[in-house]
């Protein structure tokens, strides 16, 4: 598996750390309530197909990335810097 880091170019999967679904970017407010926090930390759409998840180019530039890819075929559609995605969420 190979991922194209926006800063470093295409690298082997070994250089990357995987965190999980990109919902991790959408941290609720402290007072959002237990259901919202349960959904944030635990419950997942977990799609069989297109998804966005978080990876870090740990052995490279350390950038956190949002990778859009397919969980069935492992095709990768695109990679963005997590910080840009987060800024765009506001």
């Amino acid at each position: 598996m190979r991922i194209k880091c926006p800063l470093c170019g295409e690298r082997d999967r070994r250089e990357f750390y995987y965190k999980g679904a990109a919902i991790d970017l959408a941290r609720p407010a402290p007072d959002a309530g237990d259901v919202a926090w349960d959904d944030y930390i635990h419950n997942r759409e977990n799609p069989a197909g297109r998804t966005k998840d978080l990876w870090q180019h740990e052995m490279g530039c350390s950038a956190w990335l949002v990778v859009e890819r397919n969980t069935v075929t492992h095709e990768i559609y695109g990679v963005e810097l997590a910080e840009n995605v987060k800024r765009g969420m506001k």
């Binding site: 598996m1 190979r2 965190k19 870090q56 075929t73 910080e83 840009n84 987060k86 800024r87």
Partner: protein, 981 residues
């Protein structure tokens, strides 16, 4: 038998080797199989279950029968295909899965019990009495099963792993692969051409045919020479591409020296490659399949293509009187080639009635081989035809049930090929593996001409995909015969008696087994395979999957496409673990990290222990000390009374700078750092977002916008990653930057009442309690070297940590230790460090083991109410605090002198010892020389409520059952006066 003037072997170079101790004389270019066949060997192996004698069937890596063991001792190498192993002088080959030898195997008696050993027999018996399964039946099965044997000695072979990159990977160097590589190479693409054979050419080496008027093998050699002369081409022979993985990654095994008698020491035995290719062409050819007829497994019965392959490539006639049995035009080539070479063709039997005989040999059309005879070697075949039954004496039978395109690699990503009626085979469908295009016979183009053209087409398509210009490479003239075939899977035979028609030769699966599976409703192809074990043997069903599917289809009254399809998983050929794990043996498994004081510590004879990837000293023995505990006790006491020095550089150090540094730390730690004064240090607790403790450590504020955070050794990487996540993904607009400086600073703890006295002998500017009070920090110089000094304590003593750039670490450590020794102390190790912190009730990851909350460790109040932080909301869930939680406590033995053990469980005195009654457990234990007692830290339900109570301490595994008193975990100096002193 050798045939003169045939074959590509080098008859001027004789090579001898031994097979089961008997000398075999061959030539350079021979395989074990070709040389042994030439010398008349029939039996090469014994089957898995019934130990039936089996001979060579194929010329390639798909060989099911001729599996042998090479070498002996640590180099012993089982399950090697005799058909691909090149011979060299002195090679030792042994038969396997037989006793005493493959020629006379007493285990052959198993075959007599075959009626009771059908598919799945073991699921139906051996159940009573239960105890006999493990004691008797299973050991018997295990001994009988297996093929070759490992030596039991450690593998010592040298192997390597490597990466390669290219525009186009061509898998297979037959006509299609050579043309594909040539086409792409001429267009300027970076090309890797990989073939598992020692010599490119593929099927061209096994056939007697011409390309552009040249013998096929000469054409292949010419093209190979052209390719090897190009800078943009790498030709990798003896390299089997073993698997297709995501984004164009392929695994490949190169056998570097397995064919060399005495390779030089720097050459690996094998190299496992990861090849990253933008595009790939699968030109892996096709594999011939057998037909299921009674006793179709006798030595001497081979694939028809292999019979002529041995003739054309090795100059070996596999028999003196040969018959050929097939259902397709291709089989006829075998009879023609052999007859042309002067071998007697006893009969060509074609199951089809509507074929026109070509060739001057006896032909039986509409004929079926229904049985064979010959114990240990084929003697006779029985043929059924319109003219009745006849028996023909032969010593070799070439069988062709048709050809299966080698779609294996295309199935590695769960793509499924589709059934094709015309070729009676499974053909690739589009995009089974992204970027991997089949060509040649692998794509169902069975004529040489069609294969050549398909190689060009697929290469041009790849070039177009890559945005490269195509060139006008034209296919040379070659054989372009039609491939006519009529499906034939099974020749009916009497179902009674011992006669079986074999499908999976390796696992001894017959048509009867498949039919039994169907009868018992294992009718899905996956059930049938798993129930009968068909396809589970070393050939991964290459020789039997399609045939077995066809029999299952027949048995269940379905056609092939509705019955199922065939699939394969990586690797394409078995790969040694030594190659896949090359470099990992011994210390190679993980990096080793050494602190700057490592050598100084080793010089002092301290045993080093692994701490994650680091090595840290256990204790520093002194003359006369007989046990680690004596040394540890002495170190602890010296720190309580004088001064000790230890290396704490393994702790993670993160340098954090920027206007928002304080705010950022407030967000990742439970407590406040923005309020910390410059020049001061504060202890911090970090939670995971799930509300449990991730790590702890101290953070020093060196400047208005500059902090240095320390993490535990174990969590350094995790914390760094976490902080990067929080910054980039949660608060990217915070103006803060940080970097790990763990390896930039050597840091030493100097602990004990004489610590300041010691430091003042090395610091350029002396310190006192006013300039460096408890939890102060700042820059210092030592002989002009800039360092940092932190007044923090993990021992409860008046203590400091001093940091200098790593290059001064060794010198400073040696200096500090010598000076400490003068003051009545010295270096101390992890054991003493552990006792010191237990005495003080300080936690490590033994306590913050991932399941505990701040509440559990008595630090609930450290979760600031004034601000949000990672993990805060989740930590407020009702389940994560309250009396039901197991909370940290101290434990002291009631009987002085009683030793304690880590991992014990805690019970209330009157409770029975049951899992349900376990109220807690022990996480840290040490003997305190200061208090002259064992001490423990542990977790106990509603722990602090039980202070003063005596409870039961139970360690079944170490045999300790005693009473302990629950107490505050701070055993020593609860007011903390010593550290402030």
């Amino acid at each position: 038998m050798r045939i003169s003037n045939k074959g590509l072997i080098d008859r001027s170079t004789a090579v001898s080797f031994t097979f089961d101790g008997k000398t075999v004389d061959g030539f350079a270019g021979d395989t074990v199989a070709s040389a042994a066949l030439a010398q008349g060997r029939k039996v090469f192996g014994r089957s898995f279950k019934y130990h039936r004698p089996r001979g060579v069937m194929t010329t390639g890596s798909e060989e099911p029968n001729a599996l042998v063991t090479l070498h002996s001792g640590a180099a012993q190498d089982p399950n090697i295909r005799a058909t691909t192993q090149e011979i060299y002088e002195g090679l030792q080959v042994r038969g396997q899965n037989a006793w005493p030898s493959v020629d006379r195997d007493l285990m052959g008696v198993n075959d007599l019990f075959a009626p009771f050993f059908g598919a799945g027999f073991y699921y139906k018996t051996f159940m009573w009495p239960g105890a006999l399964w493990e004691k008797l039946w299973e050991p018997m099965i295990r001994r009988a099963a297996g093929l070759g044997a490992l030596s039991g000695e450690d593998d010592t072979s040298r192997n390597e792993k490597a990466y390669a990159f290219c525009d186009l990977l061509v898998i297979g160097a037959g006509p299609a692969g050579l043309m594909a590589a040539l086409t792409a190479a001429r267009a300027g693409a970076d090309v890797i051409l990989a073939d598992e054979d020692a010599r490119p050419g593929g099927r061209l080496l096994l056939e007697d045919e011409e390309i552009d008027g040249k013998p096929g093998h000469v054409w292949a050699a010419d093209i190979t020479a052209e390719l090897m002369g190009m800078d943009n081409v790498r030709v990798m022979t003896r390299t089997t591409v073993t698997g297709a993985f995501d984004q164009g990654t392929y695994g490949a095994l190169e056998r570097v020296t397995q064919h060399i008698a005495a390779p030089s020491d720097d050459m690996p035995l094998e190299c496992f490659w990861r090849i990253v290719a933008k595009r790939a062409v699968l030109a892996a050819g096709a594999l011939e399949r057998s037909v299921a007829f009674a006793n179709n497994d006798r030595p001497g019965i081979m694939m028809a293509g292999a019979v002529r392959g041995y003739l054309n490539r090795y100059g070996v006639a596999a028999g003196q009187k040969v018959a050929v049995f097939g259902n397709n035009d291709n089989a006829w080539k075998t009879a023609r080639d052999l007859q042309a070479a002067g071998v007697e063709i006893a009969a060509l039997i074609d199951s089809r009635s509507d074929v026109t005989p070509q060739g001057d040999f006896p032909v039986i059309t509409g004929g079926l081989v229904s049985d064979t005879r010959g114990r240990g070697a084929l003697k006779e075949i029985t043929v059924q035809s319109a003219s009745g039954e006849q028996k023909i004496a032969v010593d070799c039978l070439g069988v062709s049930g048709g050809w299966n395109p080698s779609v294996h690699m295309l199935c590695h990503m769960n793509g499924r090929p589709a059934w094709d009626e015309a070729t009676q085979s499974f053909l690739p469908v589009d995009n089974m593996v992204p970027g991997l295009a089949p060509a040649g016979a692998a794509a169902g183009h069975f004529s040489t001409q069609a294969a050549l053209e398909s190689g060009i087409n697929e290469a041009n398509q790849a070039l177009t995909d890559l945005g490269l210009n195509t060139t006008d490479t034209k296919a040379p003239q070659a054989e372009d015969g039609a491939y006519n075939i009529t499906g034939l899977w099974e020749v009916p035979h009497e179902s009674k008696g011992y006669k079986r028609a074999w499908l999976d030769f390796q696992n001894d699966v017959s048509t009867k087994d498949v039919r039994l599976a169907a009868k018992e409703n294992y009718a899905s192809v996956e059930h049938m395979k798993r129930y009968t074990t068909q396809g589970m043997a070393p050939d991964q069903g290459k020789n039997s999957n399609v045939n077995a599917l066809a029999i299952l289809a027949d048995a269940t009254g379905r056609d092939i496409p509705t019955t199922g399809t065939t699939t394969f998983r990586p690797p394409y050929v078995p790969v040694s673990l030594a190659a896949l794990g090359a470099g990992a043996r011994g210390k190679g498994f993980a990096p080793e990290r050494f602190v700057t004081s490592h050598q100084a510590t080793v010089d002092r004879n301290a045993p080093m222990i692994e701490a994650g990837l680091w090595y840290r000293p256990s204790y520093y023995p002194r003359p006369g000390e007989k046990t680690w505990l004596e040394s540890c006790n002495r170190e602890v006491i010296s720190i309580r009374n004088a001064v000790g020095v230890t290396d704490v550089s393994t702790l993670g150090k993160i340098d954090i700078q920027g206007p928002d540094a304080g705010a950022f730390l407030d967000f990742v730690y439970t407590n406040m750092f923005s309020t910390l004064k410059v020049g001061r240090v504060r202890y911090g607790l970090m939670l995971r977002e799930d509300g449990h403790v991730m790590d702890d450590g101290t953070t020093a504020r060196l400047g208005e916008n500059h902090y240095v955070t320390t993490t535990t050794t174990a969590a350094a990487g995790q914390v760094m990653k976490h902080m990067e996540f929080v910054h980039q993904a949660l608060c990217p607009d915070m103006d803060v930057r940080f970097i790990s400086v763990t390896e930039q600073w050597a840091q030493f703890a100097v602990a004990g009442p004489k610590s300041r006295e010691l430091l003042n002998t090395v610091l350029d500017d002396k310190i006192d309690n006013d300039s460096w009070p408890f939890m102060a920090c700042g820059d210092v110089t030592l002989s002009g070297v800039k360092g940092r000094l932190f007044r923090i304590s993990f021992s409860g003593e008046h203590a400091y940590e001093i940091a200098v750039p790593s290059r001064y670490g060794d010198a400073l450590f040696r200096d500090l230790v010598s000076r400490a020794e003068v003051l009545g102390g010295g270096a101390y190790g992890m054991e003493a460090l552990n006792v010191l912190r237990i005495e003080k009730g300080f936690i490590t990851h033994a306590e913050i083991h991932g399941r505990v909350t701040a509440f559990d460790i008595g630090m609930g109040r450290m979760v600031s109410g004034k601000k949000d932080c990672i993990g805060k909301t989740a930590s407020e869930r009702p389940g994560l605090h309250g009396d039901h939680r197991e909370q940290m406590v101290g434990l002291k033995p009631v009987d002085a002198g009683q030793n304690l053990s880590n991992g014990a469980h805690l019970f209330f005195a009157d409770d029975d010892i049951t899992a349900d009654n376990s109220r807690g457990y022990v996480t840290s234990v040490g003997y305190s020389p200061t208090l002259d007692t064992y001490l423990a830290l542990g977790f106990l339900e509603n722990g602090p409520a039980h202070y003063g109570k005596k409870i039961r301490f139970k360690d079944h595994l170490r045999g300790i059952d005693t009473m302990v008193e629950v107490c505050n975990p701070v055993f020593l100096d609860p007011e903390g006066g010593r550290s402030r002193g």
